[in-house]
């Protein structure tokens, strides 16, 4: 395993205020509610959870696409969480990048591919020539051709657009890339292509990934380390094999169970939880956020908030059960 910790997140919180009128009490959506993770250089950290769990928000907070409410983020031992947006933008050498989920919203439809690719470098003051050269180089790397430079996004399929998005993320030679559900919007036969591409590029360029997805099997395939998110918190984390083969947290077990399996004959027992049953203001409830849907819940689960603890070597879980 790689030793250097590239990114260290300590007790990160990101709350979005909800407008409720001047006189009413301020309410918040606690998208990320106290997350601590370490991401090692060269590895893929898989973040798995369903919609609304906060994985997208977490990724965007780490690369400072959002300002954070509280907590610390260390990138190569330098604290970046408290820096103002303006400081980050002007000094950022674009060592952190992102690949978006929706290939149809990720690229400006009125721009050519060449312009799209050049965008991150032009900002840093690179010349047109440099941008074109690097752009062509990366396009080839993602399996497309030079001639695609002069075309516009609408001429491409979803999978191709996603490749363009990946190429764009690599233009500034980043060290860390957040992959925010990069394949969810693609056809099944194309998903595998993009996954293989991401893996190849990681090896070639020594990239570190944060791979967020709701698809546990893909996350397991891609990642060295998995973090399972629920309601803004990490409820389980560990080496991906360990988590996959021996899920500890009740929610992880449910997630694993719910993956539609082709060969399995067993009928899935009904799941009584759903994130939707909980109000978005779920944080109103005391205790473990999962307590209200958990089949193992006891009284004390509703009273305190469980912390992540190392239950086995390289396997952490936040549950009173352990």
């Amino acid at each position: 395993m790689k030793d250097d910790v590239l990114i260290s997140v300590k007790n990160l919180k990101k709350y979005f205020p909800v407008r409720r009128g001047i006189l009413k009490e301020k309410k918040y959506i606690k998208a990320v509610d106290g997350v601590c993770i370490d991401i090692h250089k060269g590895e893929t950290f898989g973040l798995v959870g369903e919609s609304g769990c906060g994985k997208s928000t977490l990724g965007k907070c780490i690369i400072r696409m959002y300002d954070i409410t509280s907590g610390e983020i260390y990138f190569k031992n330098k604290e970046i969480g408290k820096l103002k947006s303006s400081e980050i933008k002007s000094s950022r050498n674009n060592s952190m990048q992102i690949v978006f989920q929706d290939p149809y919203s990720a690229l400006d439809p009125s721009w050519t591919v060449a312009k799209i690719l050049s965008e991150p470098l032009i900002q840093k003051g690179a010349s047109n020539k440099e941008c074109m050269e690097r752009g062509k180089y990366l396009l080839n790397k993602v399996g497309m051709t030079e001639m695609d430079m002069e075309r516009r996004p609408y001429e491409f399929s979803g999978g191709q657009r996603q490749r363009i998005g990946i190429a764009r993320a690599l233009m500034s030679n980043p060290e860390f890339v957040v992959c925010d559900e990069p394949i969810s919007a693609l056809d099944v036969s194309v998903q595998a292509q993009v996954i293989n591409l991401l893996k190849d590029l990681q090896e070639e360029f020594g990239l570190t990934y944060l791979f967020a997805s709701h698809d546990l099997s893909i996350v397991r395939y891609m990642s060295d380390w998995i973090g399972v998110m629920y309601s803004g918190k990490i409820v389980e984390s560990g080496y991906s094999d360990k988590v996959y083969k021996n899920p500890l947290h009740p929610y992880t077990k449910i997630l694993l169970d719910a993956i539609p399996s082709i060969y399995s004959e067993k009928r899935k027992k009904d799941i009584t939880i759903s994130p939707e049953n909980l109000d978005n203001f779920s944080n109103v409830y005391e205790g473990c956020p999962f307590a209200y849907s958990c089949e193992y819940a006891k009284e004390h689960c509703k009273e305190g908030k469980p912390l992540l603890q190392e239950v086995q070597s390289g396997h952490f879980v936040a549950c009173f059960h352990y």
Partner: protein, 285 residues
């Protein structure tokens, strides 16, 4: 994209008879307005002996109350009307687009401020505002343009703001911000090109509105002043002679109507072409 849109536009024009004639009509009017510049004669040549003559071989549109050839007057009048229309449109487009994009992109207090401003301008009956303002500033084409422009930017601002709000959510905008692009650069290079179809459509309507407004202003006497003429002022003059020189009112009146309808028709075509749905074949297998 541009090539495809142009083809669509041509197809639409050829199919839609109304739009086709509108286009032809406008081209004619514009050409005539330009060509008249080469005419040597003096449009203001007064010829008292030939007042209020009916249309004849010598004077196709007859003459006006001062014996001037009406055809020439009409053409010069059209030139003024069109010029005012286009310039006023540009003014309101520029103000409206800037306001709309800023309000939409920045949101918050800026948005509130601009929208409130827009509400205030919209709430006051424009004819009163226009009259008051035009009494205060010096008469002339440019003041007319200014006045019309100042009171017609609101609709465009609203449209542009709505589009900007939608665009702001797109990932590529967030990405541009993320890599350090300044807000003005984002607005200029990302938002404006995407909002352009809306603006172009709004522009054609704006010209029609401006011509209408100018005509009304001139008709009321607060527009162009003699000896300059616009279709509106010609209409005004024609009032006094409705009994014996009916043609003096009919001609400018009809031209105003035709021009406005033509611009509106074109606007409809632009809108139909600019709609994302009209792009070829995106089916859901």
């Amino acid at each position: 994209m541009k090539k495809g849109k142009f083809k669509n536009f041509r197809k639409e024009i050829l199919h839609n008879k109304g739009a086709f004639f509108s286009l032809v009509f406008l081209i004619l009017i514009i050409f005539t307005s330009i060509l008249i510049g080469f005419y040597d004669g003096d449009p203001d040549a007064i010829n008292i002996s030939n007042m209020l003559a009916k249309p004849s071989a010598q004077h196709w549109f007859g003459t006006d109350e001062l014996g001037r050839d009406y055809l020439i007057r009409i053409i010069y009048g059209g030139r003024v009307s069109l010029t005012v229309g286009v310039l006023a449109m540009l003014t309101s487009i520029i103000i409206g687009t800037t306001a709309g994009i800023s309000a939409g992109y920045f949101g918050g207090n800026i948005d509130s401020f601009i929208m409130r401003l827009s509400d205030i301008f919209s709430a006051v009956p424009w004819i009163i505002m226009v009259t008051v303002v035009s009494l205060l500033i010096k008469k002339g084409i440019f003041s007319i343009v200014l006045v019309i422009g100042m009171f017609s930017w609101m609709e465009i601002a609203r449209l542009v703001r709505a589009e900007t709000l939608t665009l702001k959510q797109r990932d590529y905008i967030q990405y541009a911000d993320f890599i350090g692009t300044s807000p003005w650069e984002i607005m200029r290079s990302h938002i404006v090109p995407s909002v352009l179809p809306t603006i172009i459509t709004a522009a054609t309507t704006a010209v029609a509105d401006a011509i209408m407004t100018e005509s009304a202003m001139s008709f009321l006497g607060i527009g162009v002043q003699a000896p300059m003429a616009s279709w509106g002022s010609l209409l005004q003059n024609a009032q006094a002679n409705l009994d014996n020189a009916f043609h003096m009112a009919v001609i400018p009146g009809v031209l105003i109507i035709l021009t406005i309808c033509s611009f509106n028709n074109l606007g409809n075509v632009f809108r139909a072409v600019a709609e994302p749905g009209s792009r070829a074949g995106e089916s859901n297998g």
